[in-house]
């Protein structure tokens, strides 16, 4: 039996917001692949739950007439990665989610949970950052939109306030049309593992020239991050050994890796430099570039 002290099965988005606002310690439970693991370990920070599994509208994945892609916060990893809209327009999301856990975990876990739990290693975070996700949030003051840029504020921390419930991710057409992207997860095992370093890149090309590069990392700093210095270094450049090297050097201003039992800071830095080059090259190749 999980040591749950208080449990509320939300009947609507509004009901969930009210229940979350009414209890300082209340936490949302969606797929349960994090929350139930923590409860299994006796973590009392998670013993007052608002269950959103009855809110089936939050499972929706669709594209609207203007090309905005909406992904419900309660859609499972498997539902997202197998969805035609995602496979066609946002293949890097499918690629990233395929690296999470194993099939059973992907059949329960949600991208909403992966982003909102604030994990530094979240496998969906790089894709979210390079495609500049908007987050549609319902709170006590009504609905608002926040950007993924700045959403994470520290390990396990986000800008979400008391009563806030993420409803949908929205990807605007200008943030995916004309881009090609790639993700690489470096981990000790091929499955059921946490990233040592995760790297995602999206590029928009003008012939051989990289017009725009968006580069993101997980586990390279206290939050998932975009790498503005490295991106700028690659702007309007063609891919060569030299330009990739210059980008990798500029990257050191962007990242702040640390020592942990999984890997040393030096090894992480080595991975970051190596992956930045490899993943940027792969993103270009995915567009059918010349290299």
């Amino acid at each position: 039996m999980f040591p749950i002290e208080k449990y509320h099965f939300a009947s609507s988005v509004g009901d969930a917001v009210q229940a979350l606002a009414a209890d300082e310690k209340a936490k949302i439970i969606a797929g349960g692949t994090d929350v139930l693991v923590r409860l299994h370990g006796g973590n009392s920070d998670y013993d007052r739950l608002v269950d959103i599994n009855g809110l089936s509208e939050l499972k929706e994945i669709k594209i609207d007439g203007e090309g905005n892609i909406l992904i419900g916060s309660l859609a499972t990893f498997t539902e997202i990665m197998e969805h035609e809209v995602v496979k066609k327009h946002l293949p890097v999301i499918a690629e990233s989610l395929a690296t999470i856990g194993g099939p059973q975990v992907r059949n329960s876990g949600t991208m909403g949970g992966n982003i909102c739990n604030g994990a530094v290693s979240a496998d969906s975070a790089c894709a979210a950052l390079i495609h500049e996700f908007d987050l549609l949030i319902e709170g006590l003051e009504g609905e608002r939109t926040e950007s993924i840029n700045g959403f994470h504020t520290g390990p396990g921390r986000t800008i979400l306030q008391k009563g806030d419930l993420l409803k949908y991710f929205c990807v605007r057409p200008e943030n995916y049309k004309g881009f090609s992207a790639s993700y690489y997860k470096y981990a000790m095992r091929g499955a059921m593992d946490i990233a040592t370093i995760g790297c995602g890149a999206a590029v928009k090309m003008n012939g051989d020239v990289i017009e725009t590069l968006k580069l993101a990392f997980t586990v390279a700093a206290p939050t998932p991050i975009r790498c503005k210095n490295a991106e700028k270094a690659m702007e309007n450049k063609t891919i060569t050994e030299e330009t990739l090297q210059t980008m990798a050097d500029a990257l050191e201003e962007d990242v702040k890796p640390r020592d942990s039992w999984r890997a040393s800071k030096d090894f992480r830095l080595h991975l970051i430099r190596t992956l930045a080059k490899k993943v940027t090259q792969q993103a270009v190749d995915n567009q059918g570039g010349t290299h």
Partner: protein, 155 residues
């Protein structure tokens, strides 16, 4: 403690009951006698508790019993019909893919859903491994397990 009334089908049998909201689906199934569902790691890493919820494999240790409301659950017990093993179960026997046997019921359910999902598709050993990455065999009898999946896929 708080309970919720749920209706569900387990294999072919229908149930309606009040369940404690703190209970995992794994515990509920074991209490009802479906002891093929094994309590392994309890944290979604080993897959010994794998069951199908509406034909989708999940770790029942990381699944609240209340979430099973209005679903059809399949466990290894139900795959055997009228004393006859399913094609997957038969293939595990044929290939000797069982050592201590603790991981076997969970693996049977993963293979069952994997082959239903990939029906008619030519499967590589690599695809089979990826499709079974959520199940651990502590006896490390993986080669015979992959052989069993290959054999079952041709049945």
């Amino acid at each position: 403690m708080q309970t919720m009334n749920i209706k569900l089908t387990i294999n072919t049998r229908k149930y309606e009951m009040d369940v404690d909201v703190r209970k995992s689906l794994m515990d509920l199934l074991r209490e009802l006698g479906y002891t093929s569902v094994k309590h392994g790691c309890g944290v979604g890493e080993c897959g010994a508790c794998t069951v199908l919820v509406d034909d989708i494999p999940i770790d029942s240790c990381l699944y609240l019993a209340t979430w099973a409301n209005n679903t059809v659950i399949r466990t290894t017990e139900g795959e055997c019909r009228d004393g006859k093993l399913s094609a997957v179960q038969d293939a595990y026997v044929e290939e000797g893919a069982v050592q201590c046997g603790f991981c076997t019921p969970g693996l049977i359910m993963t293979t069952t859903s994997f082959l239903e999902k990939n029906k008619g598709k030519e499967l590589s050993r690599e695809e089979i491994k990826t499709g079974h990455a959520g199940n651990l065999c502590r006896c490390t009898g993986y080669q015979t397990i992959i052989n069993a999946v290959e054999t079952a896929s041709k049945k």
